[in-house]
Symmetry: C2
Subunit: 380 residues, 2 copies
């Protein structure tokens, strides 16, 4: 199909299905994902999601996290630093053990089982951020804890991936390699925050001197892109970099105005393409064909996060209901999980079958999160 028509179909599907979903009491994001499944290869096969549309979709998720960063209350964020670490650590440990144990019991060899545990570890906060923004719950203590914990477990996930791949290829793990990775990641966060903050503020201020239309918005987009790139360079997910960029730009004089402009750019065009894209990438056949193990594995992925993060929340003095909200918010796996599964496949650790099961788990967590989030946040 012509790419203009394809984009038109994607955008109109996003708005109509989002509307329908919100009218039925579900988050709009769920409807958009289901709209994507309808359009995608498993059903109507109406959209191709070629390289161009995929780039727009990638920019959509980056803008979503950039916005989440812009709307993060920095004071709240600092206050949840330690809790986030606890939540993230337990939220990584419990699913990892669950996934490893069930795979081992189901007869998978040790390395494959370990990898199936690893794929479960890292939360993708983009969907949760989208739903929480929609419900105007992002700027709460719970919202801040979820976002911060997701940044931490992204890093933990990367470390686990590195260790597992090293174990597989070299048969042994060199502490040196892991130390280098840790130093790199720490350097990225420290330098970004300590040096980046001043530079971003200064660059945004001096961009006022360029009297071309929308220059400040463009410059803030540039900041977002550069941090997304830097994060990938340091082997962290691009969305983590974009989120960090949002936090940095939020400290500038124009934060309010920039946020409004990015909302326009994001919600008018990029974010709907991303949310429909999540559905379009879903191959319903894979999920249906995955079988009983996939069901148990996906269930453990969901329960594992809720238990792990929930305990982390309670240990951090969140109320039981807040801890449940945090646990549910941390359910979605996406980018890092998919990256891990892909690496597992290409390294020969996962088979096509266990790869499909990992994909099915990613899809299950994606589909289950928006309604669960709405449910968890509707009670108090």
């Amino acid at each position: 199909m012509d790419v203009f028509l394809e984009l038109a179909v994607i955008l109109i599907t996003a708005k109509l299905m989002g509307y329908l979903s919100s009218r039925l009491g579900f988050p709009a994001a769920l409807g958009q994902i289901i709209g994507g499944i309808l359009l995608g290869p498993s059903l109507l096969n109406f959209v191709a999601y070629g390289e161009g549309v995929r780039l727009i979709s990638e920019l959509g998720v980056i803008m979503l996290l950039f916005l989440a960063g812009l709307e993060t209350d920095m004071e709240e964020f600092k206050r949840v630093g330690l809790p986030a670490f606890l939540i993230a650590s337990l939220g990584v440990a419990v699913p990892f053990i669950f996934g490893y144990a069930v795979a081992l019991r189901w007869g998978y060899p040790g390395m494959e089982a370990l990898f199936l545990g690893g794929v479960m570890t890292a939360t993708s906060v983009s969907l949760t951020a989208s739903v929480l923004m929609e419900m105007k719950r992002l700027r709460t203590r719970v919202g801040a804890a979820i976002l911060a914990a997701a940044v931490v477990d992204d890093v933990l996930g990367i470390i686990i991936l590195t260790i597992l791949v090293a174990m597989n290829t070299k048969g042994t793990v060199y502490v040196g390699d892991i130390a280098v990775l840790l130093v790199e990641i720490a350097a990225f966060f420290l330098l970004s925050y300590l040096i980046g903050r001043g530079i971003v503020k200064k660059v945004l201020r001096s961009s006022h001197r360029i009297n071309l239309p929308e220059t400040v918005t463009t410059v803030s987009i540039v900041v977002m892109l550069i941090f997304a790139y830097l994060a990938e360079y340091f082997q962290i997910a691009a969305i983590t970099g974009a989120y960090l960029a949002g936090i940095l730009v939020a400290g500038s004089d124009d934060a309010r105005k920039i946020t409004d402009k990015i909302i326009t750019l994001g919600y008018a065009f990029f974010i709907p393409v991303f949310l429909v894209g999540v559905g379009a990438e879903t191959d319903a056949h894979v999920v249906l064909a995955a079988g009983a193990f996939a069901l148990v594995y996906s269930l453990l992925a969901i329960v594992g996060k809720v238990i792990g993060c929930g305990i982390g929340g309670i240990l951090s003095k969140f109320s039981p209901m807040e801890s449940l909200q945090i646990g549910v918010g941390m359910i979605p796996r996406m980018e890092v999980g998919l990256i891990m599964a892909n690496i597992g496949l290409s390294e020969g650790i996962l088979t096509n079958e266990s790869f499909s099961i990992a994909i099915a788990m990613v899809m299950a967590t994606t589909l289950v999160t928006p309604p669960l989030l709405k449910l968890a946040f509707s009670r108090r």
Copy 2:
């Protein structure tokens, strides 16, 4: 290069070079094109302009024309209907004859010479629209005449292309084929305007019922995309469809608000990528290697449009200075010219050498327009 970094470099180049250019008294668009040449394959070879970035660039030019449509004063537009037809017809005839004659004289065979004349005919108004918007001269009678005439000569160019290709393949021209094409094009414009106006108005109004963020903006983007697609379907340039969509949306209740939002989307992201892209697609080597004929041919492309459209302007009772402004505004050739050249090459009518010469002409008209426009509009 990573695509995020590439986009960051493109955006920052656009704003910095645009700023520099406007500080030196040239239009910002010229600086952005030169920035693109610097980044492009002929010099730094810093940007790849892969499929993704190219789609963003295409969306940029479409948004530019959509904006031009949104800002078109419909009353003025109707008043310039007949003059636009006169301006376009002479602006097509004179360059066509010039190009054909000089190519024939230079020893090119008849069919190739005809095609080299044809490539010269159709104005691409995107660059002119960008400069006029920048100078806030789009909503003048001259601005309206240029935009309307460019729509007409786009259609004339397509007809010429069809005739030439038919002459080449069949050795003869069937009046029936041309009649079908004419009916198709007429149907597109008539149906778009007569039926489309009511539908667009109604769709935009009912989109208010969807209470998701930025829905009206998204729906207006959908209208733009659909008309760009329909135009291509009817063998007209996508930008002509987008311009028409802008005129239709301008008749809706939310026109002002939509215009502001599209300005944000366009100027913050898409349009800079397009303008830098124009430069990045320019291969300076082709221009330098094209030789004496390319120089004469390009010069005639420029002079031919100014003379043809200028006479059209004077016959339509524009003042001599206004007629000159119109002529200069009609100089740029881009999409249709490039499409024609590509078809000529693939049909075996143009050789690689004469194809390069056509490309050089397109580039020359692009580079020469912004400063000439500024000059022509600075005097009154």
